[in-house]
Symmetry: C2
Subunit: 338 residues, 2 copies
């Protein structure tokens, strides 16, 4: 438990919130005890909620049901985008990650936004939030910068580019192959590979965009997994309008995409996702998403986009630390809870 990370967390979130407030975003408070509609693509790392050892204590609509800890508030924000236009939430994302290492936590603060707009506007908001955090913090009085543990980092952070470099997934794979790395199209880009790409751009933030569409029918199985409701990129068959923001130290720190907003397409993509197949194995069904589907069918939606900022990984970058454990005030993993 460190005093300096506590100050840094406060300032980082304060300046992020100020950006969102200045841009007309509404803060929402989505549930953290959820059905499977609070899962992200890593459905295997869903924690379950029990009471006195009872795994089906909740009885939604009179039927016993498993309850989970939310990994994301995305769908809950998306449901309100037609009315509120710009939304955000801040809260714990829970992941039953068994690894006890420098890269994983079982709980971390996730800042999520969803808004009516397109993919380009999404990238601008991501740059805007990150820049607001950095510029806010480096403009603090020297004593607060010191207390936040950033004295040695101010110089590097002060040359943050206004626009972040951007390469497509296809280009990233080609670049890595050119650099002599063993990687094939369809593979995940590992954190070692991310580091390699960053050294090519003076260790500044990098967007990797337009990942393979996991639902697209192709002759080989791909490794890349992305959330089912990312919208296909109509200019590049078999890709989605997604972006990962890669930061030095933190690695993949923001996951972003334009979203599918028509119900037939949404349901089709959900049913054909790997996540859904695994949900069915766990005893779940389309019923877990009924409220979202009903809402979409009743109210319709608008073209919109959103992302999740993994705050712990952003702090890791701000601090220039190799371990995520040293970058937050209350680190939790399988071997450590308080």
């Amino acid at each position: 438990m460190s005093f300096s990370t506590a100050k840094l967390e406060h300032y980082a979130m304060k300046f992020a919130r100020r950006y969102l407030d200045d841009h007309g975003f509404f803060e929402m408070f989505p549930p953290r005890i959820v059905r499977a509609s609070g899962a992200c693509e890593n459905i295997d790392t869903l924690f379950e909620v029990a009471m006195d050892g009872q795994m089906d204590w909740f009885k939604p609509e009179g039927k016993s049901s498993h309850a989970y800890l939310a990994q994301t508030g995305q769908l809950y924000l998306e449901a309100f985008v037609p009315e509120l236009n710009k939304t955000y939430c801040v809260g714990s994302s829970f992941r039953a990650e068994p690894k006890v290492d420098e890269r994983h936590l079982t709980e971390f603060t996730l800042l999520e936004i969803e808004f009516v707009g397109n993919f380009d506007q999404l990238l601008r908001h991501i740059e805007g939030v990150i820049q607001a955090m950095v510029h806010g913090i480096i403009s603090l009085p020297a004593s607060e910068i010191k207390d936040s543990g950033l004295l040695d980092r101010v110089q590097k952070l002060s040359i943050l580019p206004h626009k972040f470099k951007k390469i497509s997934y296809d280009e990233a794979i080609a670049k890595l192959q050119e650099l002599g790395e063993t990687i094939h199209w369809g593979d995940d880009i590992s954190s070692a590979h991310e580091k390699r790409l960053l050294t090519e751009i003076d260790n500044q933030p990098l967007f990797i965009v337009r990942y393979p569409d996991p639902i697209f029918k192709r002759d080989k199985e791909i490794e890349v997994e992305k959330f089912f409701n990312m919208i296909p990129d109509h200019e590049n068959a078999g890709r989605v309008l997604s972006a990962d923001l890669i930061l030095p130290f933190g690695g993949e720190s923001v996951g972003a995409a334009a979203r599918v907003y028509q119900s037939a397409e949404m349901i089709d993509r959900l049913k054909n996702s790997k996540m859904f197949a695994r949900l069915v194995e766990k005893g779940g069904s389309l019923d877990d998403f009924k409220w979202y589907i009903n809402n979409l069918e009743e109210k319709g939606s608008l073209p919109h986009a959103g992302c999740g900022f993994g705050v712990a990984r952003i702090l890791q970058w701000l601090l220039g630390k190799n371990s995520i454990i040293d970058s937050v005030t209350f680190p939790s993993n399988r071997g450590h809870i308080i």
Copy 2:
């Protein structure tokens, strides 16, 4: 899921945060998967966290341990009060409340503050936060007040007193007896009794202060349960320096107290609390509080105070609604999760 509650939640929290920011409070992000140090006095309503049906998936310090969903972030804030002086957090408080009714939720937003200061300063901050919410909202453009569902409430809310009325627990019991209610010293004050007291003061907010000390040795068992680390009131033997803020519609909406800050007294009160006896029955021990005790013994503390604002109940009051379910955007109870 209602659009107007979403707007109201946003504005209420925005103006509360503005007050805290203006007064130098640091926002913290305490864990929500916790050991028993995240429990409040209602330890019987702790949810457990499981993974694939395994109830002891976490292995803190190599030993299998139950993990719970936090009811409060209080002790986590308290641990940082010596260094940060003024702290707050916003997040879900989880309660395995079996009742499906108009008064209870299994998850609600709790705004908590802890700061170096005394009981009087605590009451001023509570008034300050509530007034900031109300004055902020009623000063919004008419269209936003309408969208937030408050058109019919503005007039009543605009005559909110600057200082809230205050009576002691002892006076409240005497008053209720005088009004013909059947209640004895040591009993809990029910929500019906709270309503009765409010009608006496034109249905404005009311502090009930100086509750019976649950740890005080007396010849009869009392019903009142309060968190173990409330500090004894040295001017009134057998009472603690606590306050509940009672609001029309919402009822008990803020729970507050000055805190014990010396480790020997803290440990003694913890060990003699009903909560601790029940924790031991559940298989817990002093070990669950080890991090807090160690921190207190190493760093010491300062006289401090704090409280938790039950946001859903405050919204219920703002809206003038009888049901808490109609007062939040995503209500959760045993019969309803999404």
